[in-house]
C-alpha cells in the first residue's frame, strides 16, 4: 500500500456567524471572524489516496483524474467565492474550516466512483490549511 497526496489551493471569503446565537454571543465566540462584511483566506487543500501500486503503470492513482475530480467538484465551487453566499452547504452551516473540510470530503466522496470505478484507490485523508498556522484534517478510518 502506498499513499499519494496532492496539494491544491483556493481562495475564498467567509464570515463565521451562527444563526443559533445572538449578535453579541457571535461576536464573543468568533471575534473578528464575525465581521459582518466577511474576510478571506488562501486555503491549501491536501487530498490523500491509498492503494496498491499498479504493476503496469507503476502508479497508485491517475493524478490527472484526481485533479479533474477536485477541480470540477471542489475548486470550481469554492475558488474566489463567498462561502456563506455562494456555496450551498453554508446556507445554514457555519463555514468554519472544520465544516469546510467535511463539505469537501463529502463532495469528493460523491464523485469518487465516477472518477475511480475500481476498488482502488480509496480516499484516505483530507487536510485543509486555513492559514500557515492552522490546519484541519479528516482521516477515513477503515
Amino acid at each position: 500500500m502506498i499513499r499519494l497526496t496532492r496539494r491544491y489551493r483556493f481562495s475564498a471569503s467567509h464570515r463565521l456567524h451562527s444563526a443559533c446565537l445572538s449578535d453579541t454571543e457571535n461576536w464573543e465566540l468568533y471575534g473578528k471572524c464575525n465581521n459582518p462584511h466577511g474576510h478571506g483566506h488562501d486555503y491549501v487543500l491536501e487530498v490523500s489516496v491509498r492503494g496498491p501500486i499498479d504493476p503496469a503503470s507503476g502508479r497508485v492513482a491517475d493524478v490527472a483524474a484526481l485533479d479533474r475530480l477536485v477541480g470540477d467538484h471542489v475548486l470550481r465551487v469554492l475558488d474566489h467565492k463567498n462561502l456563506n453566499v455562494e456555496v450551498p452547504e453554508f446556507a445554514t452551516a457555519v463555514p468554519t474550516t472544520e465544516n469546510l473540510a467535511f463539505a469537501i470530503r463529502d463532495r469528493i466522496e460523491r464523485s469518487w466512483a465516477a472518477a475511480f470505478p475500481g476498488p482502488w484507490p480509496r480516499l484516505e485523508r483530507i487536510r485543509v490549511q486555513e492559514t500557515k498556522r492552522n490546519s484541519f484534517e479528516i482521516r477515513n478510518e477503515e
Binding site: M1, I2, L4, T5, R6, R7, A56, G58, V60
Partner: protein, 138 residues
Amino acid sequence: MFITRRVEFSASHACFNANLSEAENRALYGPSANRHGHGHNYVVEATLEGNPDPVTGMVFDLKRLKEILNREVVELMDHRFLNCEVPPFDRVVPTTENLAREIWKRIEPHVRSTDVRLHAVRVYETEDLYVDYFGEAA
C-alpha cells in the same frame, strides 16, 4: 517516537511502459511520457520509529541516517537520468510510487535493528505531489 531526516536530489525521468504504445503511454502519463525525460527536485524524508536509547538519548544516530541516505539515494540518483542510469528504472517505470518503494528497499536493511524500524519513506516529486510508502506489509 518518530524521527525524520530529509535529503534532496535532482534527477530526470520519463514515465512510459515499454509494453504500451506511444498513444497509450501519452494517455496514461501525459507529458511525463516524453521519452527524452524531464526533471524534478526530489525531496526524500525517511522516518524511523523507536524509543530513545537510555545511554545516548537518541532513537538513531541522525549522522548515520544522513550517511545512509546519501550513500544509498543521493549519490546514486542526484543529477542522473533515472531511466538510463539508475537500476531498476531501466525496466521499472520511475513513478514517484516506485521511487519511494525502491528507496525503502535500499535503506531499510541499514536502519533495521531490534530497537528501530523504518516507518515511512516520503518522496516529494514537487511541493504539490508526494507519496508515503510504509513497506510491503502495510
